[in-house]
């Protein structure tokens, strides 16, 4: 169970990215986070694994307060939270297999990382995960030789290496075409259903939300403006979320 309580983030320049946001996510749920660009979706997701330090509020995960965790506790928490990014965030010049193995770093003793060595079982695991997302044949290619859809699958394999209990997906399909978008979303759905991993996924297109999400939270200018089932988003709700001039597409 992930509980967000009164989460507020004010950036150095005084921009309020999140204001008093509170909601709960039960284990195993596929939660979509929607809202305009700049509404605070990315900030919200990054506050959960503290890539961004929240200004105020609490984030409780299975009873443990993430916002109070010391660096060492944070390492243990982060390794259980996979993250998938809009721009994939692969290390371009490294091989695909290295990018996937990087998901294991939270478990590996830092003293060994100078040698760039991973235990045998991790390497096996990496091949299994690549098999699962269908890129095992690309293991020894450089990451930047892959197409966008393949790169995102590497990103998912990297998250899976963490044995995650939760995956944060920050607009995972915003840089992909509709066909690839569905294939990536299906992988996330599969992970959610088969491995019972909680997924928090920010999305732009409502058809994807309807198709994949169990529940939706919507942000507008840092405030929570909607929380409910995807089917509950009617025209009035839509205008609350996206502003009065917005028109529904797709």
């Amino acid at each position: 169970m992930l509980q967000i309580k009164n989460l507020t983030k004010i950036y150095d320049g005084g921009v309020k990215a999140l204001e008093n946001v509170s909601f709960d996510v039960p284990d195993g749920q596929f939660l979509a986070v929607i809202g305009l660009s700049g509404s605070g979706k990315s900030t919200l997701l990054r506050c959960i694994n503290r890539l961004i330090e929240p200004t105020d509020g609490q984030i409780l995960w299975n009873g443990e307060d993430i916002t109070k965790a010391s660096p060492e506790e944070m390492r243990r928490i982060r390794r259980k939270i996979g993250m998938v990014f809009q721009h994939f965030n692969l290390v371009h010049r490294s091989k695909v297999i290295t990018n996937v193995l990087a998901g294991r770093l939270g478990y590996i003793n830092p003293a060994w990382s100078f040698l760039n060595r991973f235990p045998k079982q991790d390497i096996q695991k990496a091949y299994q995960q690549m098999e699962r997302v269908g890129i095992a044949d690309k293991a020894n290619h450089r990451a930047d030789e892959l197409s966008g859809g393949q790169q995102q699958r590497v990103g998912i394999a990297r998250a899976l290496m963490q044995d995650p209990q939760m995956i944060l997906a920050d607009e995972p399909v915003a840089s992909l075409d509709p066909v690839l978008a569905h294939s990536i979303m299906k992988h996330l759905e599969d992970i959610n259903e088969k491995d019972h991993v909680t997924v928090l996924c920010s999305l732009h297109f409502l058809d994807l939300v309807h198709r994949y999400a169990d529940r939706v939270v919507a942000l507008n200018q840092g405030q929570l403006v909607f929380e409910g089932l995807p089917s509950e988003i009617d025209d009035q709700k839509f205008k609350d979320i996206y502003g009065r001039d917005a028109e529904r597409v797709g």
Partner: protein, 625 residues
């Protein structure tokens, strides 16, 4: 769509407004031009721009002479075959008339002077026959009546045509004599294949020295610049914040750790030294020590750990780790002895490959010298990070009031210790010998400063340690970078004596500071995305650097290193001017001796090396970047 159009419209209008000439703008422009004029006028005055000298005939002649010499580098020479022919001539015709001379031997080369006698200062015509075709050489007057006389007067250059004939007007010198005197033609001819001059050999030897000087300086510089570049990169250092207790304890950890580490490693050295000359013991140690270290490390630092280990396991591991490290240092000392012993052996037995032995010996010597320092630094770093972690933990666990007390105690202590150490450094440098200034004063100042910092900061606040380190490193780098390698070389020549080693040290130091700056700017411009992604997996700072930063900076690092090698090759050509070895010494010598042809050979060598460096680096860049 509407919004876009109106937006465009506004922009165009703004542009129109901008274009409208305002008198203020014209005045600004005029002032700027006037200012530029004054600046350059003053610049001409200061740098004494004056073309008058260039017009003087004498300077032009010297310039032409030097340019011609520079255009003919002294690289190749030929074996010379000379034809020396003397022919008699009378300067002032003898009163008794010209005695009939024996007819010249027309089978070989010969000279005919017409007329055979003339007054001093008069012109005679000299013709040469049967010489080797297309040869050149001087035509001289030989005073006295000895054709073998080496003293000559006057000089005319002659050049034979295809049939070996030349004709020239020769002015007789003012050296009247009753006796017969001679005119001598010395025509020389290149024979055989060209060969390298002595200058060429010297240049070759020195350019090799130069290239290797630059190579060593670049290698050492690069190795040390890489870690420095990480702590001089803003994006990596900005997130580094730690509580005051942690900072104070790690500051205390450094000197204590260095002292302990140094003592312990010297103790290990004492263990190793009785066997220093014993090669079998060296060899056995070299097999056993690495194996022990490997298994010790494998056991003490498990690669992957899912659960948090118990305290007793942790303590056992720590003990094993320390023992392992001691064995490792013993191994290093044994390695050094082995390398020195093998080096000494092979220096005497390998003959022309003795330089390999020398390398082994010197490398062993370097290892044995730096190992204690390394041990000190390692222990310092380890203790500092350990104590820093204790500080971090206590800040987390203690109540606000106890944390404050903790901060005050250790911050005061750390301030005092740091300032006393600085005071002692000043004492050592300037020999003030007044403990008030170098011991008690810093002690009180440091303690007070630490106390004030501890009182002012809130108990559990974190301080921007990273940015402090960043600014200190930057200042240090900029300060050292502003000292030219040439100046550093002067210092190192005093430290290690005249020769290429001083040059290596000077260039190496300069390479460290300038590469660290260039590198750190590359680190600052890497893509933040992968960094974020690696951090999100739970990787710590070190892992983030190894897996997200290093792969991104390899291409610029390679190209900067190549560029630096290029700079170092060029720098090492002048580092010899102050005794730092390399080709500069020869170049300077030849310029001072006005031996421009030799200097030209050295300049050619430099140009070739620099050009091939450029080519090699572009090939490498294409391949690896």
């Amino acid at each position: 769509m509407d919004a876009t159009q109106s937006g465009l419209g506004e922009k165009t209008m703004n542009n129109n407004n901008d274009k409208k000439a305002s008198p203020w703008k014209s005045i600004q422009l005029g002032l700027a031009i006037l200012f530029g004029f004054v600046v350059y006028a003053y610049g001409f005055q200061i740098t004494k721009v004056d073309l008058e000298d260039l017009r003087s005939e004498r300077r032009q002649q010297s310039l032409v002479r030097v340019m011609r010499a520079l255009a003919r580098p002294e690289i190749l020479e030929y074996e010379q075959q000379e034809e020396v022919i003397n022919t008699p001539v009378y300067v002032t015709c003898p009163a008794s008339g010209v005695p009939t001379l024996p007819g010249a031997d027309t089978s070989g080369p010969y000279l005919i002077v017409t007329p055979a006698c003339a007054e001093p200062g008069e012109t005679v015509q000299v013709e040469g026959f049967n010489f080797a075709p297309n040869t050149a050489g001087p035509l001289r007057f030989v005073p006295g009546n000895d054709p073998a006389n080496t003293v000559t007067l006057g000089r005319d250059n002659v050049q034979t045509d295809a049939s070996g004939y030349f004709v020239v007007d020769f002015i007789l010198p003012k050296r009247p004599s009753e006796d017969v005197q001679y005119i001598r033609a010395t025509l020389s001819q290149n024979v055989g294949a060209p060969r390298f001059t002595k200058t060429a050999y010297d240049t070759w030897e020195k350019i090799i020295e130069t290239v290797f000087l630059a190579l060593l300086a670049t290698t050492f510089g690069t190795f040390l610049a890489i870690p420095l570049s990480f702590i001089a990169a803003r994006n990596l250092m900005k997130p580094v914040r730690s509580p005051l207790a942690s900072i104070a304890l790690s500051l205390l950890g450094w000197p204590i750790g260095i002292a302990i580490g140094y003592v312990i490693v010297r103790w290990v050295e004492g263990w190793s030294s009785p066997f220093a000359g014993n090669i079998p013991v060296n060899l056995i140690s070299m097999i056993i020590a690495p194996v022990l270290v490997w298994f010790g490390l494998r056991w003490a630092l498990p690669q992957e750990e899912i659960t948090v280990p118990s305290t007793s396991t942790r303590m056992t591991r720590l003990v094993v780790l320390i023992l392992t490290i001691l064995v490792g240092f013993y191994g290093l000392f044994q390695l050094a002895s082995l390398s020195m012993n093998l080096g000494r052996l092979s220096m005497t037995s390998l003959g022309s490959l003795a330089f390999l032995g020398n390398f082994l010996f010197q490398a062993g010597d370097i290892v044995s010298i730096i190992t204690p320092a390394l041990g000190g630094l390692a222990a310092g770093g380890a203790l500092s990070s350990f104590m820093g972690r204790i500080g971090q933990r206590s800040t987390e666990k203690l109540s606000i009031n106890s944390a404050k007390l903790f901060n005050i105690t250790f911050s005061t202590l750390a301030g005092a210790v740091t300032f006393v150490l600085i005071g002692q450094l000043i004492e050592w440098l300037y020999q003030i010998t007044n403990p008030f200034y170098t011991l008690w004063g810093p002690l009180v100042t440091g303690a007070l400063l630490g106390l004030v910092v501890a009182v002012v900061t809130k108990a559990k606040d974190t301080l921007p340690t990273g940015m402090v380190i960043y600014y200190v490193t930057r200042t240090f780098l900029n300060g050292l970078r502003s000292i030219e390698a040439l100046v550093m070389a002067i210092v190192f020549v005093i430290a290690v004596g005249i020769g290429p080693f001083a040059g290596v040290m000077a260039l190496g130091l300069h390479t460290i500071v300038s590469l660290a700056k260039l590198y750190s700017e590359q680190v600052e411009s890497i893509m933040a995305g992968p960094l974020e992604a690696i951090q999100a997996t739970g990787a710590n700072r070190l892992q983030t650097i190894v897996y997200a930063v290093i792969p991104q900076i390899i291409p610029p690092y390679i190209s900067y290193t190549m560029y630096r090698w290029d700079i170092n090759v060029r720098m090492s050509t002048i580092i010899g001017f102050v005794g730092g070895g390399g080709i500069g010494f020869l170049l300077q010598q030849n310029i001072n001796l006005l031996n421009y042809r030799a200097a030209s050979a050295q300049m050619f060598a430099i140009a070739i090396v620099v050009a091939s460096m450029d080519y090699i680096s572009s090939v490498l860049r294409e391949k690896y970047v």
